[in-house]
């Protein structure tokens, strides 16, 4: 439900990065979204075209990686891969565990096209506003 808001935050970050690197647009955007982040990758993929319309990320390919939910057990010391709603140690069953991966919500990497930003970077307000309401 909040994936559109996440995408809009993503686009703002991409715009900052494109301008900082004096690029013209983003070509590929890689995200890391863990099962425990509370964000559904499939819904992000659906919201992305809406949020990116008229921006420097309009033609970018979105790639989403998910890391496994891994925990470290403070009782037996082992590391195990577990289900998002069962974070107990898979080895000894103890619940005193620490999450090692699985809650990521990260912009990992961006590929940029060199050149100065053209009109894509300035997507007009009405265009973007109408894009948001499509959802």
């Amino acid at each position: 439900m909040h994936e559109l808001a996440i995408c809009q935050a993503l686009i703002e970050q991409i715009e900052t990065i494109v301008h900082r690197h004096e690029a013209s647009e983003a070509k590929r955007i890689e995200l890391r979204i863990g099962p425990l982040s509370g964000v559904e990758p499939q819904l992000v993929e659906q919201a992305f075209p809406v949020a990116s319309a008229g921006t420097v990320a309009a033609d970018a390919v979105l790639v989403i990686d998910s890391l496994p939910v891994n925990v470290h057990c403070s009782r037996c010391g082992s590391t195990s891969s577990v289900l998002p709603n069962r974070l107990v140690c898979a080895n000894c069953g103890d619940w005193h565990t620490t999450l090692l991966s699985g809650d990521e919500l990260q912009l990992f990497r961006v590929e940029l096209v060199a050149g100065t930003p053209d009109d894509k970077s300035t997507g007009t307000a009405p265009e973007r506003a109408s894009g948001r309401t499509v959802n």
């Binding site: 935050a9 979204i33 509370g38 619940w95 005193h96 990260q106 060199a114």
Partner: protein, 270 residues
């Protein structure tokens, strides 16, 4: 996580990002930028700002989350009645529409700022920041942030709170922590609300709810409370006061210590 000290570059990914590393160049010759920044960077930045505001004024900020109708506003009304003689409180109310909840709070003589989110299913740090500008933090001890009723989205947005409290009403399923692990994993306290209904419902087991929470490796306490008949309220109020004392320890001597000849004042809980 942050993007300034490099704490989000882990041993697992650092190699890939070094010059010449697998991820430093692309096949198409485009420039590849390793970012490793939280997707909610802007929100997190504002949340840190809010947190600093609260800390500077020695205010405990509690984010209350639950499904719609779990009894957040009723709990706050009972809490205000129990503590209003001793503590100064304010409430930030998040709802899609109406000022109804804020009006209920105001009837108890406590300031309430209503945020109407329109179609947004959660509060974010920016909304809370704007609401903070309408409160005099210097005169407050506790700010309750009553989030939008929703067990999914609010869990992803840091608001700058000190503590997350999640209400699970006993009219819901006792397996809610297993169904909504993101929110219940982030909870510092879980309140099983409307506990006065337990005898007539029969199919909600507080122990099962506790078990599911433990399966999320969350050591948070679970209290049964009823805002209607007051049972269990003292555990919640004690927890609040404990959180306040923790905050004071963390912030150093924010409140001036006044030495008096008489006995130390203390709060008497119902």
């Amino acid at each position: 996580m942050c993007d300034t000290c490099g704490c989000n570059v882990t041993p697992g990914n650092a190699e890939l990002l070094k010059p010449g590393g697998k991820l430093s160049k692309t096949t198409g010759g485009h420039e590849a930028i390793g970012v490793l920044q939280g997707l909610l960077h802007e929100n997190d930045h504002t949340a840190a700002h809010n947190r600093e505001h609260f800390r500077k004024h020695g205010v405990l900020a509690v984010n209350l989350m639950s499904s719609p109708g779990a009894g957040k506003t009723s709990l706050l009304e009972a809490t205000i009645e129990a503590l209003k003689e001793e503590l100064s409180m304010a409430v930030i109310e998040g709802d899609l529409e109406t000022e109804n909840d804020a009006d209920r709070i105001r009837r108890h003589g406590v300031e309430a700022v209503q945020i109407t989110t329109g179609s947004a299913c959660h509060l974010d740090a920016h909304m809370v920041h704007e609401a903070l500008h309408r409160l005099d933090l210097a005169s407050l001890d506790i700010v309750f942030i009553e989030n939008v009723g929703n067990l999914v989205c609010p869990a992803s947005f840091d608001l700058g709170q000190q503590s997350n409290v999640t209400l699970l009403s006993v009219t819901e399923g006792d397996d809610k922590p297993a169904k909504y692990p993101v929110m219940f994993r982030a909870s510092d306290l879980v309140l099983l609300s409307k506990s006065d209904l337990l005898p007539v419902l029969g199919d909600f087991s507080p122990d099962t709810a506790r078990h599911h929470l433990q399966q999320l490796a969350n050591p948070a306490p679970v209290y049964e409370v009823s805002a209607r008949n007051g049972s269990g309220m003292k555990h919640w109020l004690h927890w609040l006061l404990h959180e306040m004392s923790q905050l004071e320890q963390q912030s150093g001597a924010i409140h001036p210590v006044v030495e008096t000849a008489g006995p130390a004042t203390c709060l008497v809980l119902p």
